[in-house]
């Protein structure tokens, strides 16, 4: 009998070890898969931005977009990941209540040298650091791509690259440390809840872009002497619309990466949770992402009847619900997104009338709608626990408002100041002669369409 019990105990231990290994490999594969899915966002931004560009600047826009992706990633490796773990409690760099933040903690896991290098490179005893870092690095690259479309056709390449590095490895990361980390002071003190990063990724990137646009100025020919705006149509609307659809496909990876897989030593619990430790499921995401996509498209269709704005409406729909994808009822998500789709075009027109030439409407889609989504959650989900644990802060309109103001300021101030410095250094805007000639003939060693594109007939109405 004793021998049988011993064998059973051994067998049980083996099964537990096997189940644990399977769970670890599932967690590793889960985050790994989010990375190529999120690369679709960049495929989409590339197509979207190039389509929205006039033919003389197409490849230049493409180069700029590729560099946003390529420079945000190493910058996030060298600095950004450390910022996320060092800053949650504010500029004191002290440890928070969960003891997963502060200077000492960041130095121990997020630097590429010394003891922490074991977490910043291949390590067969660490299945998770690389894939979670990879998912966060893709968020960083996404912020740079959001800014990229706004500034096309007149920004210098290296100047833009420096802005992408600042945004991708500092601005949004600071917002994430404060509002997307269980030790973040915005979460702990104000109950800020932004599950899918509507504020801390989308709004921060958009308001960073607005800060840059103020210093950069509009494209030549965008505004008339009386202040009225001209439409500078991109060379390929189909390219733009398909690009937007690819961004939406990539969003599934982005939002999937916002979930914390359960059952590991670093997990909040045995089940899926948000980054704040509150419970969620992929089912919640499936319901609400699809319903918000539909709501956004329909809302934009009602107001514009324009495929560009309808696809932008799809993005706006998801962004408007991103903060609360874990808590909304699907019909709520549909209505929140419907309103987002309807206010999209009027909000973009309002901004344009203030002399801001946002070539792809990114400030509105990601900024105005991101903040609208943050505030909507503050009304609809008021009282919901913002993070896991007893006696924690709850979601409130005031808390979401404070979080929104902080996110807007982080984006706007860092974008404005850094672009102002570049302007003083003569690295922000291309010279007038180059802009008029087109950036491709000035600095790109190949042609986008060496055989040209046949022109389609004008619309009859």
């Amino acid at each position: 009998m004793e021998e049988e019990l011993r064998l059973l105990a051994e067998r049980l231990a083996e099964l537990e070890a096997s189940a644990g290994l399977t769970n670890t490999m599932f967690a590793e594969a889960y985050y790994y898969i989010t990375i190529p899915l999120m690369i679709l966002i960049h495929v989409g931004f590339l197509a979207y931005e190039m389509g929205a560009t006039r033919m003389k600047n197409v490849l230049s826009s493409g180069i700029k977009n590729l560099l946003a992706f390529a420079t945000a990633l190493p910058a996030f490796y060298f600095f950004g990941w450390w910022v996320y773990w060092a800053f949650p409690t504010g500029f004191s760099l002290s440890a928070g209540p969960n003891e997963i933040s502060g200077l000492a903690y960041a130095n121990s896991i997020a630097l590429g040298w010394g003891e922490s290098a074991q977490y910043m490179g291949p390590n067969i005893a660490d299945n998770v650091s690389g894939v979670v870092w990879g998912a966060f690095a893709m968020f960083a690259a996404t912020t740079a791509s959001i800014m990229s479309g706004s500034v096309i056709e007149r920004i210098q390449t290296v100047g833009f690259t420096i802005l992408a590095i600042i945004l991708g490895s500092f601005s949004w990361v600071l917002a994430a440390a404060w509002g997307w980390h269980a030790d973040g002071w915005l979460v702990q003190s104000w109950g800020v809840h932004d599950f899918g990063a509507a504020g801390l990724v989308h709004a921060v990137a958009a308001f960073f872009a607005l800060g840059v646009l103020i210093n950069l100025g509009p494209r030549i020919g965008k505004f008339n002497a009386d202040g009225t705006a001209n439409v500078l149509t991109g060379h390929s609307i189909p390219f733009t619309v398909i690009g937007l659809m690819l961004i939406i496909a990539g969003f599934w990876g982005f939002l999937m990466a916002c979930v914390v897989v359960g059952g590991e030593a670093w997990s909040w619990s045995a089940n899926f949770t948000t980054i704040y430790g509150t419970p969620t499921t992929l089912s919640a995401l499936a319901f609400n992402i699809l319903m918000s996509t539909a709501g956004g498209i329909i809302g934009a269709w009602v107001v514009t009847r324009d495929p560009f704005w309808m696809m932008s409406g799809a993005l706006a729909g998801i962004i408007s619900c991103a903060s609360g994808l874990d808590v909304y009822f699907p019909a709520t998500a549909f209505v929140v997104a419907l309103v987002a789709g309807m206010i999209l075009k009027p909000a973009a027109t309002w901004l344009e009338r203030r002399g801001i030439d946002d070539a792809v409407g990114a400030v509105t889609v990601h900024g105005t709608i991101g903040i609208y989504g943050m505030l909507a959650l503050g009304i609809i989900a008021s009282g919901y626990p913002a993070l896991t644990g007893a006696g924690v802060a709850t979601v409130s309109f005031v808390g979401q408002l404070v979080g929104s103001i902080v996110f807007v300021l982080i984006g706007l101030v860092t974008g404005y100041v850094s672009s102002l410095v570049l302007k003083w250094l003569g690295m922000l805007r291309v010279p007038e002669a180059a802009e008029k000639a087109g950036l491709d003939p000035v600095k790109v060693p190949t042609q986008a369409y060496p055989e040209g594109i046949p022109k389609s007939a004008p619309a009859s109405n």
Binding site: T71, F78, G112, W113, T157, V158, P431, A434, K443
Partner: protein, 55 residues
């Protein structure tokens, strides 16, 4: 006896360059950051030269 390739002590070099070397992460991180900045600096010089040619 002078320096001999075959009998020289390469452990210091391995310590810096080889992936398992104790100082390799710090060395490559340093090279990466310096290289990154140098490429941006050189890229900006080239870009400004192209604008100058155009104007």
């Amino acid at each position: 006896m002078g320096w001999n390739y075959y009998t020289a002590d390469w452990s210091v070099v391995a310590d810096i360059l080889y992936p398992g070397g104790a100082h390799a992460p710090a060395f490559w991180t340093f090279v990466g950051i310096v290289g990154f900045v140098a490429i941006l600096w050189a890229g900006n010089r080239t870009e400004q030269a192209k604008y100058k040619m155009k104007s």
